[in-house]
């Protein structure tokens, strides 16, 4: 049975960043993921916002960590070669109640040290962002807010962890954790491992994972939010992140112009759900609200909808916990439980925090060979024609476009497979294939055939997202 200094459970944002930061020390690391690929749980869907840090009460961990992480985000994305757009955010008020909320957030923001934060007039807000409906009474302008592709960020952290010597085991569901003297035995569906310490980043299941070895005083009660995605060619689209603060009780609306150029609208809020299915009332809410805030928005340019899950942490008495929960039931066991907004913003800082604690427990020395830098897949569409021409001369696969909507070549798809994509979703998460207007209708067959060839499968075995999701499941030859 192989032994590791630390086993990280869960290959979402937190797990991948924990593994990355653990390798800043001399310790062996195994990332254990239940699914066939990383970034397949709650990390796969969120608002894609890098928050500025005015939403949290001064002095809290969330406030400090968010402001710090936001400031560090440009460097993080530069190190990991992930596109980041610091487009700024405008929180809009349309009346006295929301004005008061904005004033409170402004005061928090100042105290938290959010840079360049300004409370501006409705008129100035409408000048900054002509796409929004008139009648804005005040707005909170945070130039430091930004947006990043959560899939690329998560996968970049994962690749950086591996390239620094972390190992991973996929399709390995943790079934039991047995405390041993000086460590644990992890029994997974893909074999058992021993380790000296565990960092549990199992997202929606984090409390159940801890409960395998220790009592867990926190439970995760998920709720869901529905989102719409609009085609990059939609009109009436804002250039900043827009958050419309509701004048009355209820949920506001967020609009995010993503790094890919599409517009994200949402989320609604729904209780009592544990899957990623969208609900009609949630999508209706988003559609109606968006048309009110953005009167010229071509909502008919919607190309897809999705749901995200929020892992809300609760105490046994049912009361909710506002902070990130870092449980430490034993000196060598940490659980990150109920890390919701602004979890993506703080993922690297949270990973660094638990990694430092684990390293201290292990008395591990700093790893001078650690490199924080990771190179992304060379993207043909981002190159100049001259650069792209040279690339095709070196490798003809760069000349063959497979996904026409998003201009993605065969060479990029092959590289994504080399880096671990085993499903259509794996390709989508690494490259954005099938994210355009046709939603994969034109490239699905080609991508399936290529995955089958590269992974030595039949086309009928290739899946959309692992498990029983075979793309051509149940198809038979007619000859």
């Amino acid at each position: 049975m192989r032994h590791f200094d630390v086993c990280v459970i869960g290959g979402g944002l937190l797990g991948c960043f924990a593994a990355r930061n653990l390798r800043r020390w001399h310790c062996s690391v195994l990332l254990v993921e239940a699914r066939e690929d990383v970034c397949t749980g709650i990390s796969r869907a969120n608002s894609a916002i890098v928050y500025p840090g005015y939403d949290h009460k001064p002095g809290t961990v969330k406030a400090e960590m968010t402001v710090w992480s936001n400031a560090a985000f440009s460097r993080l994305c530069e190190e990991l070669d992930v596109p980041f757009s610091r487009c700024g955010s405008l929180m809009l008020s349309y009346g006295p109640n929301a004005d008061a909320v904005l004033r409170r957030k402004y005061a928090h923001g100042l105290e938290n040290g959010v840079p360049d934060l300004r409370l501006i007039s409705g008129r100035e807000a409408c000048q900054l962002e002509p796409a929004v409906a008139p009648g804005v009474s005040s707005a909170l302008f945070a130039p430091s807010a930004g947006t990043v592709n959560t899939w690329e960020l998560c996968i970049a952290a994962y690749e950086n962890a591996l390239q620094n010597g972390a190992e991973s085991v996929l399709s390995a569901e943790v079934q039991n954790i047995v405390p041993l003297s000086g460590g644990y035995r992890l029994e997974t569906s893909a074999g058992s491992y021993t380790c000296s310490a565990v960092i549990n980043c199992a997202g929606i299941c984090a409390h159940s994972i801890q409960a395998l070895a220790f009592p867990c005083p926190v439970t995760v009660v998920p709720n869901a939010g529905d989102y719409l995605v609009l085609d990059p060619n939609a009109s009436g689209v804002p250039s900043h992140i827009i958050q419309a603060e509701p004048e009355d009780a209820g949920k506001g609306l967020t609009a995010v112009p993503t790094v890919e150029g599409s517009l994200l609208l949402g989320p609604s809020e729904r209780d009592n759900t544990t899957d990623y299915a969208t609900a009609a009332e949630g999508l209706d809410f988003v559609r109606r609200y968006a048309s009110r805030v953005f009167p010229q928005l071509s909502i008919g340019d919607t190309i897809r909808s999705f749901a995200a899950l929020r892992p809300n942490p609760q105490r046994p008495d049912g009361s909710s916990i506002r902070s990130f929960v870092i449980e430490q039931p034993a000196p060598n066991f940490w659980s990150l439980i109920g890390v919701k907004t602004p979890g993506m913003t703080c993922a690297d800082a949270l990973g660094a925090h638990v990694a430092a604690q684990a390293a201290s427990f292990l008395q591990a020395e700093a790893n001078a060979a650690f490199s924080p830098r990771r190179a992304g897949i060379t993207r043909a569409k981002l190159l100049s024609p001259a650069q792209r021409r040279r690339l095709v001369e070196q490798d003809p696969d760069y000349g063959e476009v497979l996904c026409r909507c998003e201009d993605i070549t065969r060479a990029e798809v092959l590289e994504a497979v080399r880096r671990g994509a085993v499903t259509l979703d794996g390709l989508k998460h690494r490259l954005g294939t099938g994210m355009g207007a046709c939603q994969g209708a034109r490239c699905r067959q080609k991508l399936t055939a290529l995955l089958a060839r590269e992974l030595d499968l039949t086309e009928e075995q290739v899946t959309c997202s692992g498990g029983d999701s075979a793309v051509y499941g149940g198809f038979h030859g007619t000859l």
Binding site: D226, G399, V401, C438, S469, A470, F475
Partner: protein, 293 residues
């Protein structure tokens, strides 16, 4: 940089016809490009008989129609560049072409866009629920059935009774598949009545009018859908393993979106507007080709 008088993007029925017509009217310096290996566009996967009544006086299959246009093209000598994608078209009348052979910039005097149309996807519809495996557009299934000789099994539901929905219902039925229904939001069949009579009626597959899919169910794989009867508001749970969407075609103008309409740009066929008949796309394309000469 190479240069031509007329660049035609897309070698489907419209692109081939425009090229041939321009050639007949004396233009020699033509370049026809397509991302596929062979000309024909979508025609080769349309194996049913139902094309060409107006032009040929008899009905041909899609492959026959494509073969006719393609032999006409070969005889004329219009240069055809296969497996080539046009990455961009610039206002200075150049296009960036990509193939495994390399990236090339081509200048032109006139451009005919003949890129056809794309199918609307389920993502554009107000359908909630999950997005499991087992949801296809009608064109995807047509490609699987007619070009890859592969058919789906299990219970199949078709959303949309346009021509493509009707044709696929008939072809899947003939291939031995279990098509449980065709559902249509409006009060009448969306496709041509001759397609209804030829493809749907003989199969006995029910056409459910004033009915639509509101929700998709299933985690990894599709297990069923929720249907709503629009007049009664009643919701019906229907078990199915395959959902085929035939919910409309959109002209594919992605390449020219930021160009406006300069006088050197011409649109032919389904990228201009969606034609009910190939014959009319061909006639339009022929006059576009002739007008440039």
């Amino acid at each position: 940089m190479e240069h031509c008088k007329l660049l035609i993007i897309g070698a489907g029925a419209a692109g081939m016809s425009a090229a041939h017509s321009a050639w007949e009217h004396g233009i020699r310096d033509i370049l026809l490009v397509d991302s596929r290996a062979c000309p024909g566009g979508i025609l080769p996967q349309c194996s049913h008989r139902g094309f060409g009544k107006a032009l040929f006086g008899e009905e041909k299959t899609g492959p026959e129609y494509a073969a006719f246009l393609s032999s006409q093209l070969t005889e004329s000598g219009v240069p055809f560049l296969p497996e080539t994608d046009v990455l961009s078209v610039s206002p200075d009348r150049t296009a960036l072409l990509s193939s495994r052979g390399g990236l090339r910039e081509t200048g032109f005097e006139h451009l005919i866009l003949a890129t056809g149309c794309r199918e609307r996807s389920i993502g554009e519809l107000p359908v909630c629920g999950s997005r499991p495996a087992g949801i296809f557009t009608a064109g995807q299934i047509q490609e699987q059935l007619n070009l890859r000789q592969r058919r789906p099994s299990g219970r199949i539901l078709i959303l949309g009774s346009g021509d493509l929905g009707l044709i696929m219902a008939g072809q899947l039925h003939d291939a031995g598949c279990d098509v449980v229904a065709v559902v249509e939001q409006s009060g009448r069949c969306g496709g041509l009545s001759r397609n209804y009579h030829r493809f749907l009626e003989p199969t006995g597959i029910p056409l459910m009018l004033r009915t639509t899919v509101t929700e998709v169910c299933g985690q990894g794989r599709l297990t069923g859908v929720k249907l709503r009867q629009l007049d009664t508001g009643k919701t019906i749970n229907l078990d199915c393993n395959i959902l085929i969407t035939a919910v409309g075609l959109v002209p594919d103008q992605a390449l020219i979106r930021r160009l406006g309409r300069p006088e050197w740009l011409h649109l032919a066929g389904n990228c201009h507007h969606v034609h009910e008949l190939v014959d009319s796309a061909v006639q339009e394309a022929r006059s576009v080709g002739a007008a440039i000469a």
